[in-house]
Every structure is written in C-alpha cells, then in structure tokens.
Amino acid sequence: MDYKIIPSICSYCGCGCGVLFQVFDGKLVGTLPMKTHLVNEGKLCIKGWNLHEHVVSDKRLKSPMLKKDGNLQETTWDEAIQTTADKLKAIIQKHGPDSVGVLASAKVTNEENYLAQKFTRAAIGTNNVDHCARL
C-alpha cells in the first residue's frame, strides 16, 4: 500500500499553477491545488482539477509506430529510431539540411525544447525550427 503526493505544475495554459498529483499504488488518481503556491494559492480551474484525467486516458500512445504497408504499426524503439535516422540522413544527403524542418513545442519542457533546437541546429544543420507560439 503506497500513497504519494507529488508536487508539480499544471500543463494546460500559461498560468503555471502549482498542483499536487495523488498517486495510489503507482496509479495517478487525482489532482489537488497546491495551497501555498505563489501563482494559484490553492485554487485551480476546471482543467487543472482534471489534469490527471488525460494522463490516464486509454487513448494514450503506448508504443512508437512506423508506417508499414500504408498503416501505422507498433514497433520497437530501436527500429523506429534507426529507420527515422536513416531516412532523415538520406534526405539531408540528397536535398541538404535546409530540406528538414522541426517544430518544437510549447507543451514540452525547457530541457526538451533546448534539445530540439540543438538537434535541429547541430545534428541536422539548419535553423528551420519553430513552434506553435503563433497559433
């Protein structure tokens, strides 16, 4: 029997409200507002209160997928990564690095955005990186 409270931040809008995830035997069962957080002071909106629901949805993607015979099919990480890298390398070789674009994301972390643009600039060799701030 294991009950944990994990402090975190809501990932919906830009307010950045403090939340507490309730974890029961390794399962995410609820979201609470963090009382002493500077931004939200123990309050949340309807989306924040239900933050855990999308995480535990059965619609979540659980495996990488590759298109085979016109359909996306589940595969291993090794195959998904290697196939993608080979295709990307071939495109770069033929059309140059500027034929590749990357959309970083306002939904992932700073660390991940940092890596996404580093990947675009250093690994691909282009500045074709943007994200959905405009949308």
């Binding site: 029997m1 294991d2 409270i5 029961f24 069962v29 609470l32 002493t36 939200n40 949340l44």
Partner: protein, 289 residues
Amino acid sequence: MEEQMKEWPEPFSTTGGKTSMLVTMQEQVKEWLDQDKVDLFLGYKMVQKHPLPHCFTKDNLDEVDELIAGQARYSLEKIATKIAAERPEIKIGLLARDCNQRALNVLYVWNQLNPDNLETINVNCCPSKLKEHGDCSYLEPEQVGSFKKMIGIDNIIEVKAAEEFSQEDRFNRWMYEFQKCLKCYGCRNICPVCFCEECSLEHTDLIATGSIPPEVPIFHLVRAVHMGGRCIDCGLCEDTCPVDIPLRLLYRKVNETVEDVFGYVTGTNADQSPFNLLGDEVTLKIKPI
C-alpha cells in the same frame, strides 16, 4: 509564503524549533505504525519550504521525525476516504483538526469511512482561540476590498448581519458573487463530505453545460441544497474558490435551517443524520415549526 511569518500556536509554530507537543505527536505516530495499530498515517511534511500532505508508513519510520502539524490545511479525510474506497481493510491514522473531526463524523454517518479503522491525533485550532473569525488556514481573516463590501458580500460576514440587507439588496449581492463563478467545481472537488458518485451539479437537466458563469443562481443553489446536513463549515470550499464567493456563509445559512427544523447540528457527532434514511425507520423526528 507570508503566512508562515505569522505567529502560530503550538503545535503549528515553526519558530524556535520542534515543540514538545510536536515531539509527542511524532512519538505517538511512530508507536502506532510500529505496533501496526495503523497501516499508514496521514499528516504533513515540509517539502522544499512548502507544507504538503504526506502519507507516513512503517517502511519509513525515520521519516516520522519530519511530521508537522501543517500550517496549510488539506482535506486529509478526503484522502482517507479515497484510500478506504480502494482498500477498505486498511487502518488509517490521521492528523485531525476540529474541522477534520467534524468531517470524519459525517463520513462515518454516511458509511464512507469505518470508525473502527480510523485513529486520529487531534490538534486544536478551529475555531481559533486567537481570533473570532479565525479560520485555521488564515488566523488573521483577510480584509475584503471596498468594492466587494459595497456590491458583493464580505467573506467574513455572519449570517445574521447578512440578513440585515434588504431582500432586494441581498439578492443583487448574491447575483454579483455567483456571476463571478468560473465553474471549476473546486467547491465540490475539495469538499471532504462530497462523495456522491453522481453529482447533481453535472446533471444536464438541472444545469446547462458548456459556458461560464454556470447558470446563475441555480448552480450554487443546487450545491447549497445538498450541503444541508452535510456541510461541516471547514471553509475549504471558500478557500479554494478562485473568485472568493462567500460559500461558507451560504452553507451556514442552509445548516442553520436544518438545525431549526430538525435540531441537528452537522458533524458534532456520528449519530444518524435526518437526511440519511437508512432502514425502515426515520430515526430523527421532525421538530414542530
């Protein structure tokens, strides 16, 4: 975090290190866990300068040295209800302020928790001895703004004083407050005595969905009706309301009516509630009006 700067009574005080009351509490919890009197203990722990609810267990007994009374107030009994729903056999220990205890009584009445499986360590804080309107989450009640006092409802006003407004004035003031509602459902979500699987607030025949504010005043009146004989005046709903609607006052009035009609004071003990008609017999007689 300003609240921590205020002077708190024992065992909440954080100035001057561990108080003897806190040490006694920790020793008691360790003993209970060690001797399997409880399987887990719900209290508070300081995490990166924030008091957060925490579940202490026998596997990690040393951690109990970090147990605090918690200056921020969470509904530990709601967490207990959640745990009991999944694992009814588990014995739960709980740090209980007065409001938590009143909530526990209601949860026993409504068969949401089994008193045989619950042990509490009681801490006295509410009603506060320090302040007349003391809410344990802020001993110094917040002064509401001048405009709210004029147009809306002062959050620390008493039922009697609120009733002195003319009916029209009172109506307009409540309408003002309800129109701010963002429909977060926080009042229900945080409520220690809200446990229904189907909630009237989500009943689409009663309340339309898809826009805010939710239908004024139906949304809040539906909830108020359901708080009669249930609300234990802990104030968590008002505390979590993003727009400071004086919910506590509303439910106090509802409970006052319940007391007038049935002579029942919610949460004072684990006796039958007039709304809880289990079995063949109504156990409480309606008082003549």
